[in-house]
Structure formats: structure tokens, C-alpha cells
Symmetry: C2
Subunit: 354 residues, 2 copies
């Protein structure tokens, strides 16, 4: 079995470990943020970790009303700009803890007395040593190049930190139940292994979501690109209507994340727009209506596949659970294409950029 496949399966345990081990540290960081009057969350991350940062933008703005900026690392590294972050919590996210540009942002901030923290899977890493409050993923070594368990454990720690900083208590309770939901989601494996052949020759696709699952779309697209060299492009369902939908014609594969909650209806409308263009829709959803519509459309011979999320969760938590469907799809697609998902050509596990 590939490392990627195994690490996907380890996620329920890894998330449970992260939540159990880091609760106290999350509370301590939240207390420090209160004590220092933090009014801004400023996040430095790259690649998959940047997708965790995008989830954090929605999570902390929606749950806590704290504005969230995603750093453009080159502002600090190439341009050496002294950005004023006095009232910020500067948070780095890096599975390896060796993302040089994110570390540079943290180092500069800490030097100026700004509150710093990080989320990393590497306790002995440079990033863990560079900040006041390191939060650890406890995911165990990740041997596959495409990140899976380091991503979901990073999300879990972001949720846990939001709870510590005053998010709705229901979110805290639901978060504790998330390992069970992740476990159930792994059951998608068998069906997906069966019908993935349909996508054997897919060379490009778009991945669409709205709201909190923007991160899920971006992470799914990256997994597909890394493991199967599919040119997968993620879009906000809203931005997509501002231009890119013009490029979608008959049979073009569109992966949609559509869940019950605030982003449901705009995504549902978008699915209908794609039906009109006779696009191929791969729908990952917990919502009966759209799933049934796509099933009916399939029965008429039009293209598509349905992935019903086995363990529905509160909308704000869907990014933690739904990405497992995207990971499994990327894994099986790489397998059926005869590619090694563990070691994509041209990539190294630690990518150092200035």
C-alpha cells in the first residue's frame, strides 16, 4: 500500500491526538492573545499550509469577528517591508516547520515584540523554535510527498484555537466528535475505487466551492495536480461566474463541494448553470436535493458522479471532513493512471522559497 493511502487512513487517530495533546497550549495562546489585545490574525504559509490558512480566514472572521490577513511572504523576504503588526497574532503554518519565508516573517515579528505562534508537525523544526507558542500536529512522520494528515491536523488545531478564543461552544463539542466523522468518511474508499476508472483520461478539471470550503477546493486541486498531474483549477463559485465559466463546455469535468448551510444555495445554482453547459459534475455533498438531481441526470445518460458524505457535520466543520473525499479521489486517480502518488516527479518534501 502507498504511504499516501495509509496516511489518509491515519487521519481520525491523528486528529484525535492533536486535539487531546494541544488543548492546553491552545488555551494558553488564547489567553496571551486576550492579554495583548490582539485585533488581527496575520498568517504566513505556503502550499497546502496556505489552504489551512484560508480556512482560518473564514473560521476566525465568522466565529470571532477577528480580521484575518494572509501574508504575501515576499513582502517580508524579497521586499523587506516593516509591516506594522503591533496588535496582531502572527501565525505560521508549515508541516515541516522549515518554510523559510514563513519563518522569516515570524522572526521579524517576534523581534518587534509581536505575539507569534505556529502550527507544525515537526517539534524540533526551525519554525517551532522561532515562535512563542508552537502548536504541534502530532500526526507522526508524513512519508508521502502530498500532505494529508498534516493538513487535517492543522485544521483541527485551528478549530481548537478558535474555540479557545471564544467560538461557539457547539463548535468545540462537534470538533471533539470529528475523528468519528473522519472515520466514517474513509468508507467512501470502496465505491470511489470502483468508479474512478471513469476519470482515467481526465487531464484537467475545475474544483468549485463557496464560503468555508474555498480551502477544500484549493487543497483538492493541489492534491490532483501533485499526484496525477491533472491540471486542476480551484475557484470560488462566485469568482467562477465572473469569467472562467466561459471556458466550460460539454463534458468538462467540474468537481463541486456543496453542503448544507449558508453556502448551499449559491453552489446549488452554480450546479444548475453547469448542467446547462452539459458539464461533467462530480458532486461531493451532504444535501439530498442536489444529490438526487444529479442521480436523475445520470439516469438520462448525462455525465457525473455523486459522493454522499457519510457523516454530515456542522457547515463550519465540513472542510475538516470533506477533504478526505478529495484526498481519496486524488489517490485513486493516481493509482488508476499508473502513477506513484507518494513521489510526484519534480517535488521535494521540503520546499524552500525566498
Amino acid at each position: 500500500m502507498s504511504w499516501m493511502r495509509q496516511e489518509i487512513a491515519e487521519q481520525p487517530d491523528a486528529v484525535a491526538r492533536a486535539l487531546a495533546a494541544e488543548g492546553t497550549r491552545c488555551e494558553a495562546l488564547a489567553a496571551a492573545a486576550r492579554a495583548r489585545g490582539v485585533e488581527l490574525l496575520y498568517i504566513a504559509a505556503r502550499g497546502t499550509s496556505d489552504h489551512a490558512a484560508i480556512l482560518a480566514k473564514y473560521l476566525f472572521e465568522i466565529e470571532l469577528g477577528v480580521p484575518v490577513c494572509l501574508a504575501a511572504p515576499s513582502v517580508f523576504t524579497l521586499y523587506e517591508a516593516p509591516v506594522k503588526l503591533d496588535r496582531a497574532l502572527v501565525l505560521g503554518i508549515s508541516q515541516s516547520g522549515e518554510a523559510a519565508d514563513a519563518i522569516e516573517i515570524l522572526r521579524q515579528a517576534r523581534e518587534r515584540g509581536v505575539l507569534t505562534a505556529c502550527i507544525t508537525n515537526s517539534p524540533d523544526s526551525s519554525m517551532a523554535g522561532a515562535v512563542e507558542y508552537p502548536l504541534l500536529c502530532h500526526a507522526g512522520q508524513e512519508r508521502s510527498l502530498p500532505a494529508t494528515k498534516s493538513y487535517t491536523t492543522s485544521l483541527a488545531l485551528l478549530y481548537r484555537l478558535a474555540v479557545a478564543m471564544g467560538a461557539r461552544p457547539e463548535l468545540g463539542a462537534a470538533l471533539q466528535d470529528s475523528p468519528a466523522a473522519l472515520q466514517l468518511t474513509l468508507n467512501l474508499d470502496a465505491a470511489m475505487a470502483d468508479w474512478v476508472e471513469r476519470y482515467r483520461f481526465m487531464e484537467e478539471c475545475v474544483v468549485l466551492a463557496r464560503g468555508v470550503n474555498q480551502a477544500t477546493a484549493m487543497e483538492t486541486a493541489l492534491k490532483l495536480t501533485e499526484t496525477s498531474y491533472v491540471r486542476a483549477q480551484p475557484w470560488s463559485g462566485a469568482d467562477f461566474l465572473h469569467g472562467p465559466i466561459a471556458a466550460i463546455d460539454e463534458g468538462f469535468p467540474c468537481i463541486l463541494y456543496l453542503f448544507r448551510g449558508r453556502a448551499h444555495d449559491p453552489m446549488h445554482d452554480l450546479m444548475h448553470r453547469l448542467f446547462e453547459r452539459n458539464a461533467e459534475c462530480l458532486l461531493i455533498s451532504d444535501s439530498d436535493g442536489p444529490l438526487e438531481e444529479l442521480e436523475k441526470r445520470q439516469a438520462t445518460g448525462a455525465g457525473g458522479r455523486c459522493v454522499r458524505l457519510p457523516a454530515p457535520v456542522d457547515e463550519i466543520l465540513t472542510p475538516l471532513v470533506a477533504i478526505v473525499a478529495g484526498q481519496l479521489f486524488a489517490y485513486h486517480l493516481a493509482r488508476i493512471k499508473g502513477r506513484d502518488p507518494d513521489a510526484p516527479r519534480g517535488l521535494r518534501k521540503v520546499t524552500v522559497t525566498r
Copy 2:
């Protein structure tokens, strides 16, 4: 002649008009920002205007040290989150001034007494009426669906506002000279019209930049997708190395923006990585070394084309001038593909999203 072609050519005059007409209002807004102790720029925009917002992130952080957040509009519209923006300047950008979600963010902010402004090409629009300080593009009616002159005039106003808020005076002087640089850049037209045939059958590509030209890469990719239905994917040169480069094989078209300044060397390194993979490189640059390397490579029969920027400008201003090369390429590609760049299928000029 198409509207798009004509509006590309109008840009030097339009930018000169915007700078002449809105200087006083930019100074007044800057004074208000000082008076209210603004510590954060929070920008709401979609589509092409979002690319102007990305330029603003680099510009205001590098020149002024003011942290910049790009709003995720659904946080306000779908999730109705009361984000704390007391010390922010909330800025909407929309050529039509009818972007409903951005207007909603501005409306909520103004209700709570937050300083609001916008950049729009429509003086009588809802957005202009919703804010305290509307800044107007003075670009004249934009008849082509793909935005060109409304984008560059929006950038010009962002630069002018940065100067009013305390950016380097040299930037102010260079900005006043930018219409002349834009005029010279239009001279690329003839050569591009000649060799664009090479790309007649291009169906996908990536567009790469670092630092301040991140916006240029994104806007170029959108122009290509809108006008020629090319699936063009923009990447930060740094993020690109974190995974997507794995999908690049022999002959795959890569458009690179590479200018003298802080982002030069990382982009130059990336060009060499693409040479190693035998990618097709279309280089838009003002830098002799890389241009000569690509010319030499072409002489050996390997693929690529050089676009030498006729009017080099300070690195921070390159996004205003260099995008003209991307616009011209998108226009000529649409022409040679037999498509109407003014009216892409499936698009409307005003896209309203929730």
C-alpha cells in the same frame, strides 16, 4: 476594430485623466485615514477588481507598512459575520460599481462608523453612493466585456492613494510619467500580432510571477480565459514550486513576468527550472540577461518567445505597465482563434454574486 483593442489603446489617456482628476480626493481620503488612525486596509472586490486588490496588498504593505486584508465576501454576505474593522479603511473596487457583495461589506462597515471608500468607473453606481470617499476611474464607458482600461485606471488610483498616504515621493513622480510608459508599451502590438499564430492551438497554460506582479499573472490568466477560453492558471513562482511544477512537461506553455528588482532572481531561477523541463517559455521582461538566454535557447530550436518591455519602470510600478503586454496577447490570441474578445460566451458585464 474590436472594443477590447480600442480600450487597450485608450489606457494612456485614461490613466492620465484618472490621476489628474482624483488627486485631490486621494489626498482627502489619506487625511481622513490619518485622522481616524487607520491601521488596516480591508479590500472587497471580485474578478478583475480583485486583482487590483492584490496589487494593493503588496503596494500598501511594502510602501506604507499597513497590513492589507482581502475580504472573503461570503463572510459578510452568506455568513453575516460582524468582523471588527474599527481601525480599518474598508475599500471596495468594482468597475461597474454594482458588485453586490462588495457593496454589502461597505454598507455594513459604514453603518458601524468605519471609514469607507471605493474605486469605480461608474460615478452614479450603488457603490459610489454607499461610501464616504468614492474615487472615480474616468476611463469612459467600457464596452468590451473583458476589463482593460478600468483595471489600469484602478491600479493608477491605488498608486495615487498610496502616494497620498505617504509612499516614497519617487513613486509619485514615476506615476505621473506612467501614461508615457503605457503609450510606449502599446508598441508591442505589431510584433505580437505577427508571432501570436504560434499559440493558435494553445488550450492551456500557466502564468507565473513573483512579488508585486502576482496581480499581473492573475489578471493575464483571466484575460486569456475570458477571451480565448484558454485554461490559463496563474501561480506565484514560489507556490508553483510547492507542487504544480510537477504537471509541467515538454512544450507546456508558461508565461513568465520577470522584471528588474527584488523579484528578479527567484523568477530567473524558476525560468531555468522550466528550461530543464523543456517547457515553452513566453517571457515578458525588462531584463537583458534572461531575455538573451531565452533568445539563445530559441536559436537552438527550443520553444519560446520574448516580449521586451519598451519602457522599463520602477519595479513597484511594473504591474501598471506590464499588464498591457498580457492584454495585447489575450486580444491577439482571441483574434487568431476566430473568437470575439468583446463578448465571451456565457458572461455578462455586471456579475452579481451573493
